[in-house]
Subunit: 222 residues, 2 copies
Amino acid sequence: MEKYYSKIKNSPLFCGITDEELERMLKCFGGYVKKYEDGDMIIRQGETISKIYLILDGEVNIEKETYWGRRIIIQKLYANNNIGLSLVASKNVEANINALCVGHALILILNYDKCSTMCQNACMHHSVLISNLFKILSKENIELIEKIENISQKTIRDKLLTYLSNEGQKHKSNIFEIPFNRQELADYLNIDRSAMSFELSKLKSEGLINYKKNKFVLKVEI
Amino acid sequence: MEKYYSKIKNSPLFCGITDEELERMLKCFGGYVKKYEDGDMIIRQGETISKIYLILDGEVNIEKETYWGRRIIIQKLYANNNIGLSLVASKNVEANINALCVGHALILILNYDKCSTMCQNACMHHSVLISNLFKILSKENIELIEKIENISQKTIRDKLLTYLSNEGQKHKSNIFEIPFNRQELADYLNIDRSAMSFELSKLKSEGLINYKKNKFVLKVEI
DNA sequence: TCCTTTTTGTTGTAATTACAACAGAAATGT
DNA sequence: ACATTTCTGTTGTAATTACAACAAAAAGGA
């Protein structure tokens, strides 16, 4: 557990909390680290969630399956991100997503019930933590709206250009790597993979973008 | 101002806060009520937001305009909802949406800066408020994911069925009113209005749904 | 009431997409 | 290095959609 302290300390979740406080809080919240392997379900649609999941290492896809069996990728999460945070606030809310491990991952798991009841008045750190939770959810909210913008474009071309432009702005650069392979990107943008590949080629041949595997270059201002 | 107290008191934002506390907090946060008319911009894309907006009465559309000039309706908000809450957490974040008044609306406006600095240690209500903020954002998060589910369906038919099914579940009934007119619903689901009308007619003729104006009846389990 | 405006429904056509099937490239394991 | 598997790109066709143009219905105002 101790070997993860530095990682945990630097997460937005524990931002503004000192080392000794952190140690006490982790005990208080029954914190432990769990390993997941490729394909493992960390959160399953329909479950009731009362734990806070913090990714220490690895990659997690937030997905949904349609009634007709198609996969929707809502977002991809990395180290320092929380999984399903919006589900712990209200008890009796069923998870509306699946959280799937991609490759190996290390997840810190905290008991939010203990966090919210035992510390309500006792811990002065509780207010720092809940303030952090608010900030984290705010960021996630903004990212979800960005995703809505991406997939709300009319054509495959517009979806790609909007997505790539947004990624460029996030990286503050015209050169960046995207976190998806082609099939994942298609499932994220809700389009057919082969049609997407075709459109990417077209954009490349027109000189608007360049790419090799996951590395993209934007040659235009959108 | 006093005449709005009962409305304000019953909002999720001030849940768990007593009457006297509320009065003190409203003064402390420089709270005031502002009237908006149809088409007024409450929040404009690109602005930096440092105020909390609480809808006391009326209807507000959260929208985005695409690069190509098309309207995207992200969500429709009503009394007791907050506008752009995710924007106040981090200063220097530019609004990624427009908030437009639909018809008349009454909005309570609070100064979040005062709320977060002055009360950091002084007010014990601050922690209640920030806990409420977390819960509100959680709910919004879940709704955004639901919207993503709706618009991620492949065909117009699937989008309509998914949307109507989700609305039915929310109302816990097969009979319910939707908050959108046809054009708004099309802009919410990112589809063409006329094509949507055509598909609605088809669903009605097939006996899967029934509707008249905004009142819908689901005749199947989805 | 009548007229005007707004909203909703209908239809045909051009554009776009999904899908399937396959080829080529890259990655992986032995 | 080779075989195998996974990932990416290409193409043709059927299905779906956007768009425009218009008709019908409903709502609102004088």
